[in-house]
């Protein structure tokens, strides 16, 4: 069977599974819809959290980014896993004991203020929308390459599937579908990695393989060979990278803290039955995530060596274009690979200096990797299904955050307090349907800055939500004046720095002009510190939180008596 048919079969089979689960787990109440009745097993919840977390960006783009960035790619690896330690130790158990559906609900109740609640709703919706548009785009790219439909049709098919199970099943449908999606995406990620690891180093485990000797009998370590190749071709040494230490430090911190402040991640810990399970669940989530995140740098290394070897040929002089492997011509048609014969010798050559003749998009590395390594057709089809699973699972989780923020925090708690549970559920479904249409529109007509904004969403989450939540738990006296002033100054500072360097004056976006050498990607860390400082100072000069609130804070600090997450 050819790749095309196999891809249709495998992707079609996974879709059938997702829809079957959605029908089986329909939501009957807002309680089902928002937090899956708080009855999800911590292992299943860990898997669902992992699928929710690992987006099209993690699955499709991350290994590619690392393979071009070398050591610097560690900012993503540590940043997007280290945040779970903060979640497990500082946030998840307390928020679970607090027992509400959403992050804006915590902010609103803890700071006894509807203004704070509304600020939180706006931040949550903004962060989630920028994210979801990128996911829909990911679905489109996978469809267009592997199923040869155009990107618009691809996005519409993706929207239809997500619509079906998110609107029908809410959190319950999403959680169980995500468990299935996790299984699909992790298999799709590991199978090619294991194959390639065996081929290149003889080790079954890729995490060991990429630090081992090459199996060609030369006795050279794979990473040493790559360091050598990189410097020869005019790139920075692979294991050293090019970013300054302070920038790596700040970007990693912004991504870690941002992870712990993202509403669609935090809400997962409201779905387990007990505080104990919330702690455990964060551990399981990280385990499932780590499986992919420790494999990614291995894939990055394998892919980089393979790519350089196939393009530049065994003699490192270039390969004739007529003899180019089929993956190059396949991806050329999508515009993600381009070759320009500068010296007119009819050979392709890839390097980091003036000799370079290739333009290679980072996003193709994971998807093209099985083709580059010449793996069987079913592996390539599996990778396509995995990419779609990653994009769908994350979109669904984000759409739920948008719809609950609007139907619950905005309508029920602020604007229309008298609606019944049934009506609220209907509004939640309408809100997610509208959100899917907007996300689909953004996926088909992406504003040029979507990709950049996704990275900045972390900085914004880090500088707004994280300090407000931490202070809300660990300082009984923190009051609404402090929290609101902190959130507003943190997010304004961060957004202003980013907007200045990315949109107003992009020409100045160089290390010499950055404050303390911190790039816009890492500025969220400084914004977070500012938020903490402003909040603490303002709180000192205004009256402390009311007695009832202080007692509530005392009550969330120990597990006993945690009921199910509830609306009121």
């Amino acid at each position: 069977m050819d790749i095309q048919t196999l891809t249709f079969l495998i992707v079609g089979a996974t879709f059938a599974i997702y829809i079957g689960i959605a029908i089986w787990s329909r939501a009957g109440s807002t309680h089902d819809f928002y937090v899956a009745s708080g009855g999800v097993n911590p292992v299943a919840n860990g898997m669902a959290t992992a699928a929710d977390w690992m987006s099209a960006a993690s699955f499709i783009s991350m290994a590619g980014l690392i393979s071009f960035m070398g050591y610097d790619g560690a900012v993503y690896l540590m940043g997007w896993t280290g945040g779970y330690v903060l979640l497990a130790l500082c946030l998840a158990p307390y928020l679970r004991k607090f027992g509400k559906f959403t992050v804006p609900a915590f902010i609103g109740d803890r700071y006894y203020s509807n203004t704070a609640r509304t600020v939180a709703v706006i931040c949550a919706v903004f962060v989630s929308f920028t994210y979801v548009a990128g996911q829909m785009r990911g679905v489109g790219v996978v469809f267009s390459r592997f199923l040869e439909v155009d990107i618009t049709t691809g996005v519409i098919i993706g929207m239809a599937i997500v619509f079906f199970y998110a609107v029908l099943g809410g959190m319950k449908g999403i959680t169980y579908t995500q468990v299935a999606q996790y299984c699909v995406l992790i298999c799709a990620y590991l199978v090619p990695a294991i194959f390639i690891s065996i081929m290149m180093t003889g080790h079954v485990i890729p995490q060991i393989g990429f630090g081992a000797e090459l199996s060609d009998g030369s006795g050279t370590y794979l990473l040493d060979k790559l360091d050598g190749l990189s410097t020869e071709l005019g790139f920075a040494e692979y294991t050293s990278g090019t970013k300054s230490t302070i920038d790596v430090f700040f970007i990693t911190a912004a991504l870690m803290v941002g992870t712990a402040g993202l509403p669609h991640v935090i809400v997962r810990f409201f779905t387990v039955p007990k505080v104990r399970d919330a702690r455990k669940s964060a551990g399981w989530a990280l385990l499932f995530i780590a499986l992919l995140y420790t494999t990614a740098p291995a894939i990055a290394t394998f892919a980089r060596v393979n790519m350089i070897d196939t393009i530049n040929g065994p003699d490192a002089q270039g390969t004739a274009y007529e003899e180019a492997p089929s993956w190059i011509t396949n991806w050329e048609s999508t515009g993600l690979i381009a070759w320009e014969d500068k010296n007119g010798d009819g050979k392709m050559f890839y390097s980091g200096d003036a000799r370079n003749e290739m333009k290679i998009d980072r996003d193709i590395m994971v998807l093209a990797n099985p083709e580059i390594a010449d793996l069987p057709a079913w592996v390539i089809a599996l990778v396509a299904a995995g990419g779609i699973a990653a994009a769908l699972s994350t979109s669904a989780g984000l759409l739920l955050v948008i719809s609950t923020s609007i139907s619950h925090d905005l309508l029920k708690r602020n604007l229309m307090p008298n609606i019944s549970d049934k009506q609220e559920l209907r509004y939640a479904r309408i809100a997610s349907a509208v959100a899917i249409c907007i996300a689909g529109y953004l996926g088909i007509n992406p504003p040029g800055f979507v990709a950049q904004v996704v990275a900045f969403a972390f900085g914004l989450a880090a500088s707004s939500f994280f300090p407000a939540i931490i202070l809300g738990i660990f300082s009984k006296k923190m009051n609404k004046e402090g929290a609101i002033a902190g959130m507003i100054s943190g997010i304004t500072f961060t957004a202003a720095y980013i907007i200045y360097f990315k949109f107003i004056n992009p020409a100045a976006n160089t290390p010499e002009n950055w404050w303390f050498g911190i790039s816009p990607e890492g500025i969220g860390t400084l914004g977070m510190l500012l938020n903490f400082a402003v909040a603490i100072v303002v709180a000192r000069f205004t009256s402390e939180a009311p007695k009832a609130v202080q007692e509530m804070v005392a009550d969330i600090r120990f597990p006993k008596g945690a009921g199910e997450a509830s609306a009121h």
Binding site: Y71, R276, A282, K560, G561
Partner: protein, 105 residues
């Protein structure tokens, strides 16, 4: 108040904070320390084909994160039991009460 006394509540919270802060210190030392600030120095040491700083940044720190959460879950469960604020306590209690009512021991 579910604690036996104010004193108990304070002790529980202090022990919790001490555990949390010591685990966070390790978290910081491994990721920001070994993986970033001292990565260049550690790169002089090799672990098979890996330079040590590079390994911490791309592999080691993630494994340590996992261990940290596991230790935290384990220790907190013990701490909850010690101060009698764990959750399982409630259902068996009710269950026993129901049994007593039913069979009148």
């Amino acid at each position: 108040m579910s604690f036996e006394s104010e004193q108990h509540a304070d002790d529980y919270w202090k022990e919790n904070l001490r555990l949390m802060l010591s685990l966070l210190a390790i978290w910081f030392a491994v990721s920001f320390g070994c993986g970033i600030l001292f990565a260049d120095a550690l790169n002089g040491i090799r672990l098979g084909g890996f330079k040590l700083g590079f390994w911490f940044a791309q592999q080691g720190s993630i494994y340590v994160f996992l261990v940290l959460i596991a230790v935290y879950v384990h220790k907190m469960n013990k701490l909850d039991k010690k101060y009698n604020v764990h959750e399982d306590h409630e259902e068996p209690d009710e269950f026993e009460e129901a049994l007593e009512e039913e069979f009148g021991q």
